[in-house]
Amino acid sequence: MSNRIDVKKTYKLFINGAFPRTESGRTYEVKNAKGLFIANPCLASRKDLKDAVVAARAAQLGWSKATAYNKGQILYRIAEMLEGRRAQFVDEIVSVTGVTKAKAEKEVTASVDRLVWYAGWTDKISSLSGALNPVAGPYYNFTIPESMGVIAAVAPESPSLLGLIDVIAPIIVGGNTVVVLASTKAPLSAMSFAEVIATSDVPAGVINILTGKKDEIAPWMASHMDIDGLDISGLGSKRHAEIRSAGTENLKRIYSFKSADPGRILAFMENKTVWHPIGL
């Protein structure tokens, strides 16, 4: 190799479209599969979570009002940007997790394809779940799914990129904004994914990504009164009861998922029924 010294990346948080360090000044060490130092990502604090929720709440109305076509194009744009940076993501996954290059490539490919799949759902989900209800009277009555609000999520430890996309994409397809906690052991692809988001026309605050400890942040997410829903797919099932219990303070909708399907989008949407009289 040459004598050139690498320019290494500082991994920070992604809040409101910017890359701040944690306000707490705390970091933790990420090592590769061989135990060698890779990076010092942020150990996000409760204040970082609050800041992210404020950003997500501010962005939510605008994102929910964006047309389904527009939302679909933005999700597709994320896929385009990710496709263009495949090599970087493959390298990061290999270096952190120690998997083979072929396996890392498979994960990145699946991630791009998953984003494309979800991009197509934005303008179809309401025809799947909406209804024109034949009420027994002279009323026009319809039910449509609409966004729930600000949703928090705990991404699974692995696969660190595909798992992250699997929690983020269905939440934003539904017009929600999201605050997601990335894989603790393998947060690098999440923070690089933030760079993809930052260049994909995703409005600031729609997707916010934290790195840190699940045991610290998940209970804060559960008890936060301005978070409407919580995806705990990435949290060990032993902690689910405690998190569900903490979430009852504002009757948060808390779910855990096993697969990617439209039910995952609808779980974080509310059904609204509208009545109007028919007559002259």
Partner: protein
């Protein structure tokens, strides 16, 4: 001045000869009525007359009911084809229609609601819910939950006192259609129509144990919620109790639906048809004595029409006929219980002390029973308790706004999100407002309309899930990706 123009109504009392009320009731478990151990009285809230003695279910009765429901689920109901299950539901719907008058009279006696409402709303809608869901029983694979949706098993259902029979129908009909068996507890003060429904199950020859009805108070409800033999909990009631239930089942695998409180905004824009809006406001808050979770209890008026609306509203309120629920002319019946009356009075007292201006319709309230005159508070701000807390009585808080956005902001400034009303003759404004309002049911140029095909349920702290329509049915089925 206009007093002279109003019609005088001669009393038109409905006969109560149609119903037979036993001196004492037991529980309906495993297809039979079994004697209770302890009892408490149920009264007619319009007269304070003791109607009957209701059994208080304890651990043994709850265990017995859950056991009967489990046995019926595993040996009969889960094995029966949807086609046959549906026929039982159709039978129940038909028998309820046949005995509609009996149900209506009993409901008004036990609940205090006007016979006009129990006869024209509660009972026909309850029958309609069974008829609608009967047709789902053999079509579950088309409910949008995959090709093999499954029932949960035994459903524990706890219902409120405001629409006793109708809430029973909202709970029991989808549960049975989806293939669950049920243990249902009616509210402490309104058990009689649920016990009459048990007779309907017998007449319909519903297999023993598919529907079990146990009566009692909150302690019975807690036994149901915490029973390990129950797979699904469905509750309608206050947000306070809903949160307790949510916490209780959090560590379990029980599925939960909650239909909780509300503080619905009813927005009148300056381009509304004012006379129609006034009727809608009255229907929104005074229907069923305001004992409605989705009641339009916050009137939000555009400033430019506020005086006109309030003047017409007061004139209309002065003509609301308050009194004997059994009189077919009565508009506003009795408050369901002394406890509820005290809650309404307490919250109104806070309205006075916090600076709201109270106006009550002039009316003679009967000497016996629990009564509250139709009342409005003007000069209410968003910080006042009467603008924030569910009152569950015939009391309307009035706020005003200048711009449409201000109306939306005020309407959404609540932890609840059950329903909302919009009054405007401009289509684009109605649709805009219905998009902005964070509530599960939006009534535009109407209010308090219900139908079995129409999903009902709240955003935010108004609950989890929907009742009615395909969305409501899905609450009683497993098949979605989330746990």
């Amino acid at each position: 001045m206009e007093e002279k123009l109003s019609f005088e109504y001669a009393p038109a009392p409905e006969s109560r000869a149609l119903v037979t009320i036993k001196a004492k009731y037991g529980h309906f478990i495993g297809g039979k009525f079994v004697a209770g151990s302890k009892h408490f009285p149920t009264i007619n809230p319009a007269t304070e007359e003791v109607l009957s003695q209701i059994a208080l279910a304890g651990k043994a009765e709850v265990d017995g009911a859950v056991k009967a429901a489990r046995k019926a689920y595993s040996t009969v109901w889960s094995k029966m084809s949807g086609k046959e299950r549906g026929k039982y539901l159709f039978r129940i719907a038909r028998i309820m229609q046949e005995r509609a008058r009996e149900f209506a009279v009993l409901e008004s006696l036990d609940n205090g609601k006007p016979i006009r409402e129990s006869r024209d709303v509660d009972v026909p809608l309850a029958a309609a819910h069974f008829f609608y869901h009967a047709g789902w029983a053999d079509k579950l694979e088309y409910a949008g939950l995959g090709t093999t949706p499954k029932a949960h098993g035994v459903a524990g259902q706890i219902i409120p006192w405001n629409f006793p029979l109708l809430m029973l129908a909202w709970k029991v009909a989808p549960a049975l259609a989806a293939g669950n068996t049920v243990v249902l507890k009616p509210a402490e003060t309104t058990s009689l129509t649920a016990l009459l429904f048990a007779e309907v199950c017998q007449q319909a020859e519903l297999p023993a144990g598919v529907v079990n009805i146990i009566t009692g108070d909150g302690s019975t409800g807690a036994l149901i919620v915490n029973h390990p033999g129950i797979d699904k909990i469905a509750f309608t009631g206050s947000t306070e109790v809903g949160k307790i239930i949510a916490r209780a089942v959090a560590p379990t695998h029980k599925s939960v639906t909650l239909e909780l409180g509300g503080k619905a905004a009813n927005i009148v824009f300056d381009d509304a048809a004012i006379d129609e809006a006034v009727e809608g406001i009255v229907n929104g808050i005074f229907f069923n004595q305001g004992h409605v979770c989705c009641a339009g209890s916050r009137l939000i008026l555009q400033e430019s029409v506020a005086d006109e609306v309030l003047e017409k509203l007061k004139a209309r309120m002065a003509k609301i006929r308050v009194g004997d629920p059994m009189d077919k002319n009565t508009d506003l019946g009795a408050i369901n219980s002394k406890e509820q009356l005290l809650k309404i009075r307490e919250l109104c007292a806070s309205g006075d002390s916090e600076g709201g201006e109270r106006w009550s319709a002039p009316c003679d309230l009967p000497a016996k029973g629990f009564w509250f005159a139709p009342t409005i508070f003007t000069g209410v701000t968003q910080a006042h308790r009467i603008a924030r807390e569910e009152i569950f009585g015939p009391v309307l808080s009035v706020l005003t706004f200048r711009t449409p956005q201000e109306a939306i902001d005020k309407a959404n400034n609540t932890p609840f999100g059950l329903s909302a009303g919009i009054w405007s003759e401009k289509g684009s404004k109605v649709l805009w407002a219905s998009q902005q309002l964070r509530a599960g049911v939006i009534w535009a140029n109407t209010f308090n309309k219900f139908d079995p095909t129409s999903p009902f349920g709240g955003y935010k702290e108004s609950g989890w899930g929907r009742e009615g329509g395909r969305h409501g049915l899905s609450a009683y089925l497993k098949g979605v990706s989330h746990e």
